[in-house]
């Protein structure tokens, strides 16, 4: 009981409470939806309570809870949770997007509703655990655990190719993870602990070893992000996943990859991070441009959004490996932005898919005339995603570009060309988003089936409103968000600068 009363444990395992209720409930679909929604809303409440207790001035981990878990046979494994400026926004993003995703399934998931909700809540638990765990072993468990419910969400409730996509998703991600497992073991054996703060404080990993450990961790995270050229699982998973699955996949699961770089690769292997920053940034920039170009050539709306994620997460990676405060803060904010904007885009796609059961551009056109409310919302979200000033995407991308520029000549990246090409990505984003918008919403209604489409229902609008509020809030007044992360980022940058001098 004492275990559960710890704020972070309560937060992480709160969704499991809902799972237990669902298990006892039997197969009552309507009630299952409400229980799941209530659980996720309460979890959001708990996360706000955690936010209330969070001291933004403090750069260190807070609300810590550590417990000696496996202390035998030479293992020194602790159950250790903590939260700081690097993770708090992502935790809030997770708890914020979950009820929205659940609400979006109201009519989209009709079969085996209870099972869907159970897997969904388990997924939420896993994601929260990933962001809060401070012991490498514990982190790895949550990290791998998220695969299982997501695998089922795609595989049972997905599209026609769902089984293929589910297996591909699982194997791809696992391939990277087990390399990371070996690296975790190496740290545990040679440093004598799996506890992240201890490992960071200890330091002292020789640079040539750091190089390999960095790559092993990067294997897991880069696949998750996904960075070019390890992205090929993403379009399949996204296109086949049900809408709620896509929202969470793009909104939160991909952030687990970028968060992993931020939380583990940078502070654990700072010298390797400095050494490899140009290489990582190169991949990031290729991803930005590649994702944008491929997005433009898609004929399926959902695929377009999926590829645009590769481009957006390229920005996040570029910001992280600028290795300065601006770049990292921009990256963290961009993680949140991408979660909101792309989550909203997937919802937008989901709304029309529920009505027409197709996502081909050629099936649409002139929707503005038929569904004006829908069209306006889609426009705002598209603009946010392409980074229009005044909306959230702009703040994140601009800060990242400033950071990358600052890391140019004489900085971690060593060249301003990264920034130049990345900026090109911003322009390309405008091209493919506007192209999509034009194809779908402008012009005359070309397909007869679209003439009788009903505009959004109140439930659907209610799903979108919280996202829109954040889109404007972050776009117009991002200061509170930066304030939450600033001290922790400063501390990380100090550590990285010390490593760069060596």
């Amino acid at each position: 009981m004492e275990f559960l009363l710890q704020p972070l444990n309560l937060l992480t395992f709160f969704p499991v409470l809902g799972v237990l209720v669902l298990l006892f409930l039997g197969k009552r679909d309507g009630l299952s939806r409400w229980v799941a929604l209530a659980t996720s809303l309460l979890t959001f409440g708990v996360s706000l309570w955690v936010l209330g207790m969070f001291n933004a001035e403090n750069p260190n981990l807070q609300l810590n809870f550590a417990y000696d878990w496996i202390q035998a046979a030479g293992w020194n494994i602790r159950y250790s949770m903590g939260i700081d400026g690097l993770s708090i926004l992502l935790v809030l993003l997770t708890t914020f997007l979950s009820p929205i995703a659940i609400l979006s399934t109201w009519h989209a998931v009709e079969e085996r509703v209870r099972d869907f909700m159970i897997f969904f809540l388990l997924l939420e638990m896993g994601m929260l655990g990933v962001f809060l765990a401070q012991d490498l072993f514990l982190f790895y468990i949550f990290w791998e655990f998220t695969l299982v419910p997501m695998y089922f969400l795609i595989g049972i409730w997905g599209g026609a190719q769902r089984m293929y996509a589910a297996i591909k998703f699982f194997l791809y991600t696992m391939a990277g993870s087990i390399l990371m497992l070996l690296a975790i073991l190496w740290l545990g054996i040679n440093q004598g602990t799996f506890h992240l703060p201890d490992l960071i404080a200890m330091g002292g990993i020789p640079p040539e070893v750091q190089f390999w450990l960095f790559l092993a961790f990067a294997a897991a995270f880069a696949i998750k992000v996904p960075m070019w050229p390890l992205h090929s699982w993403l379009p399949d998973a996204h296109v086949q996943a049900p809408t709620a699955g896509s929202v969470i996949l793009a909104g939160v699961l991909l952030k687990m990859g970028t968060y992993g770089f931020l939380r583990f690769n940078l502070p654990l292997f700072p010298q390797a991070a400095v050494q490899l920053a140009p290489a990582m940034a190169t991949l990031a920039v290729i991803g930005i441009v590649y994702g944008a170009i491929v997005s433009y050539s898609q004929k399926d709306v959902k695929k377009l959004v999926a590829y645009s994620s590769i481009s957006h997460l390229g920005f996040v990676m570029l910001g992280l490996f600028a290795l300065n405060a601006q770049g990292i803060e921009g990256a963290i904010l961009q993680m949140v932005n991408h979660g909101i904007s792309t989550g909203a885009l997937f919802l937008i796609v989901g709304f029309i898919y529920e009505r027409r059961h197709t996502r081909e551009f050629s099936e649409f056109g002139g929707l503005w005339k038929v569904m004006p409310v829908y069209a306006v919302l889609a426009l705002i979200v598209s603009l946010s995603s392409m980074g229009l000033p005044g909306l959230n995407g702009f703040v994140g991308e601009f800060t990242i570009l400033l950071g990358a520029w600052g890391a140019g000549e004489g900085g971690a990246l060593g060249s301003v060309w990264f920034t130049v090409f990345a900026a090109l990505g911003v322009i390309l984003a405008a091209v493919y988003m506007l192209y999509m918008f034009q194809k779908m919403f402008l012009g005359p209604v070309t397909v007869k089936a679209n003439e009788a489409l009903k505009d959004l229902t109140w439930r659907e609008i209610a799903v979108m409103v919280p996202l829109l509020v954040l889109i404007f809030w972050i776009g117009l007044y991002p200061k509170p968000f930066f304030a939450l992360m600033h001290p922790a980022v400063e501390q990380l940058v100090t550590l990285l600068q010390a490593a760069a001098i060596h």
């Binding site: 035998a72 030479g74 468990i141 699982f170 194997l171 190496w186 054996i189």
Partner: protein
């Protein structure tokens, strides 16, 4: 002249008890007549009695019979795993045999004899005793494999197992003879003493060790001595397969670990490369062949080959002094994790088996989640445990194994292991896909014993992972007697 003392008997008490019990049961079986439940019930009682004696012996470190028999933490651990396997086997068998119309009382007696042989194997500190134990465990297994008389596949399995097993025993004996030739003794302690005093012809010791590896490699189904496994596993009645997959493997590894770690560290330089290649080949070939199976029983057979490969990974590092401690305990831990998942998955397979050898294809599992969510969830846990995905005991087992490998400095072997786990995840996932995501109407036999076994092993696989501290501690205290 005293051949043995009462102290010897007390040291070997659990084994003696079980053997005597099995002999008595043989008589009971002859007179049991129509009371079909009697022999299995008495077998369970015998196993539980043995378990009690084992637990009361915990912590005992003693030699018996002039050093030929050892009771130590290692043997106790293996024996408890074996008894656990025995209990689960009896629980799985009773109803299954009736359903398949092959219920025979001697089945259980043979099983007890085989377990006695396995237990002797875990305690054997003399190569001749190893041979004796091997025969005692194998001969009943040959009979059990062919116990479905009249069923061609079962008969084939029995015969094949017997012929190849006899062949492998020949290798073992020849190896023992060479070791004797090199050192003048078959006692493990004597071998160590002779090796440290310097051998005139050390090559014979190496050759002998190699041949012993062949003989035992056959028992644990390591590549390239695995050819018999799929046919025997597939042809035998599934309850026998379940017993064999864990029991024979545990006993074989018990002997391998004890002999190599305690008697052959001096020749690790020559043996390690052989083990390395054998282990890598077992991991890769076992997994690759498992992928192409369309029959669940054969898939599990090949997967059990690959698990032998994983346990061998630990053994590769046996010559490294720093890692030696973890070699033994990680192998034991993995064996325990494997035991739970293996018996559990066989219980599920038996629930779906309609008549001997039917209802075992992947497609027969389609829609299992809808028909029988409990069984499907249990099978999910076993598959995840086999694949080494948290939160299951199989993950903890792999974690521990990889540690032993890394401590031994075999990074590339660890990477081979990683690739192997990835390949294995593919076919385990495929079964999950079939069970959860495809439509179908599987026929499920509702047998309490099977359901309970599946449920208990599934819960154990998860709960014991969460509270794995004591289990790690126990495995790490299961020390081998080092001479």
């Amino acid at each position: 002249m005293n051949f043995f003392s009462s102290a010897d008997l007390i040291t070997a008490l659990p084994l003696v008890f079980l053997t005597v019990w099995a002999c008595i049961l043989l008589l009971v079986a002859a007179f049991a007549g129509q009371r079909q439940g009697l022999v299995p019930a008495l077998s369970l009682a015998g196993l539980l009695g043995t378990a009690y004696l084992l637990v009361s012996q915990m912590g005992l470190q003693a030699d018996a019979f002039g050093g030929m028999f050892v009771t130590d933490g290692f043997s106790t651990f293996i024996n408890i795993v074996l008894i656990l396997g025995g209990v689960l086997s009896v629980a799985l068998s009773y109803d299954y045999l009736k359903r398949m119309e092959i219920a025979k009382p001697e089945y259980y007696v043979l099983m007890l004899f085989s377990i006695s042989g396995m237990m002797l194997m875990a305690s054997a500190a003399d190569l001749i005793v190893v041979f004796l134990a091997l025969e005692l465990l194998s001969i009943p297994l040959y009979v059990l494999a062919g116990i479905a008389r009249g069923n061609l596949r079962s008969e084939e399995a029995g015969l094949k197992y017997f012929l190849l097993g006899a062949f492998a025993s020949g290798f073992l004996v020849y190896g023992i003879a060479l070791v004797y030739g090199a050192t003048g003794t078959t006692l493990l302690s004597g071998v160590v003493a002779a090796a440290s005093a310097g051998l005139e012809y050390p090559i014979y010791l190496v050759l002998g060790a190699g041949l012993i590896l062949v003989g035992l490699g056959f028992k644990v189904a390591a590549v390239p001595f695995h050819m018999w496994t799929p046919d025997v596993y597939d042809g035998s009645p599934t309850s026998v397969t379940a017993f064999m997959a864990v029991g024979a493997k545990a006993a074989g590894f018990a002997a391998l670990l004890r002999i190599f770690v305690s008697a052959f560290p001096s020749i690790s330089e020559q043996i390690t490369p052989v083990l390395y290649v054998m282990c890598a080949a077992t991991l890769i070939i076992g997994n690759l062949l498992a992928i192409v199976q369309s029959n669940v029983k054969r898939m599990l057979a090949y997967s059990s080959i690959s698990h032998a490969g994983f346990i061998l990974m630990a053994l590769v590092a046996y010559g490294n002094d720093a890692a030696r401690f973890d070699v033994v305990s990680s192998a034991l831990f993995y064996l325990l994790a494997f035991t739970f998942a293996s018996f559990g998955s066989w219980a599920v397979v038996m629930s779906l088996e309609k008549s001997l050898g039917r209802g075992l294809e992947f497609k027969d599992y389609a829609g299992l989640f809808r028909r029988s969510p409990g069984l499907a969830m249990a099978m999910l846990v076993f598959m995840l445990s086999f694949a080494g995905v948290p939160p299951t005991l199989g993950f903890a087992g792999k974690f521990y194994l990889f540690r032993a490998v890394l401590e031994g400095g075999y990074v590339w072997l660890a990477i081979v292991g990683v690739v192997a786990s990835l390949i294995s995840a593919y076919y385990y996932l495929r079964l999950i896909v079939v069970m959860f995501m495809q439509e179908g109407e599987p026929e499920v036999a509702r047998v309490p014993a099977l359901g309970i076994t599946a449920a208990v092993t599934a819960v154990a696989s998860v709960v014991l992972f969460i509270f794995s501290g004591p289990l790690f501690a126990w495995a790490s205290q299961a020390l081998l007697r080092i001479f």
